[in-house]
Amino acid sequence: MAAERHANVTWNGDLMAGSGTIDEVGSGVFGPLDVSWPARSEEGSGGKTSPEELIAAAHASCFSMALAGGLAKAGNAPERLQTSATVTFVPGTGITRIALAVRGSVPGLDADAFRGAAEDAKKNCPVSQALAGVPEITLDAQLA
């Protein structure tokens, strides 16, 4: 069954001086969240989010779910996975790199098996597949 998820954004004014708001999402869990070009492209976001930060959250959560699923299927359900995704955005070029890092607490699993499961999750999670055009996606997977 297809699952549809939506978000609404309002933008006011031009690109450099204007700003937008993610007004609401279907789940109602977040919004309004402010977004702006400086938050996206400059150091120090001033407490505003950006498309790249949302992509980082999407990728980290998709990867974590895929890894939890893969580990459980192999009989090693994780106690806890702590994942970070860092998206690098170059204005004028786009997203050039995503760095995934995961620390896992998985009873009965050795480091190599954990790394293998993490590589599978990185390759196969739906967000990874949707973002396959990113020039570089790295993974650092270690047991906690």
């Binding site: 978000a7 204007g18 996206r40 980290a60 994780p78 106690e79 996975l81 739906p126 949707a130």
Partner: protein
């Protein structure tokens, strides 16, 4: 992102580096009823709507127009595709614009250029369908 437990029964929390959000996530929210939790696809919908609206604001200005307000709704669809499992199959953008100094044709050109210029549209188009419907309201 911190995840605890298995895929089907566990749940997680996504935290933003900027501190702008801290969101609960789980699998049922992704595939079935949302139940007050977000999902990777909802986050991508927010990312795409945000990316596209900044791109369109830039293109309207480049065409000599002045943006009063852009309303962008993005719907991302996750579906099971044959033996490939779950894939993100489409991202649909619905745009309503209020801008001065630009006519409907000019706005339509800006809408297309914004799609080409939005880095996320370009990325996701490699594996999914991206569509844009746009109306200039004034």
């Amino acid at each position: 992102m911190a995840w605890a437990g298995s895929l089907s029964r566990g749940s997680g929390v996504a935290q933003a580096g900027t501190g702008a959000f801290e969101l609960p996530i789980d699998l049922p929210s992704r595939l079935g009823e949302v139940g007050g939790k977000t999902s990777p696809e909802e986050l991508l919908a927010a990312a795409h709507a945000g990316c596209y609206s900044t791109s369109l604001a830039g293109e309207v200005a480049r065409a000599g127009g002045t943006v009063e307000r852009l309303d962008v709704r993005c719907t991302v669809t996750l579906d099971e595709v044959g033996d490939k499992g779950h894939l993100i199959v489409s991202s649909e953008l619905d745009v309503r614009g209020n801008a001065d100094g630009i006519d409907a044709d000019g706005f339509e050109r800006a809408v297309r250029a914004a799609d080409e210029g939005c880095s996320f549209s370009t990325l996701i188009r490699a594996s999914a369908t991206v569509s844009v419907r746009a109306t200039l309201e004034s």
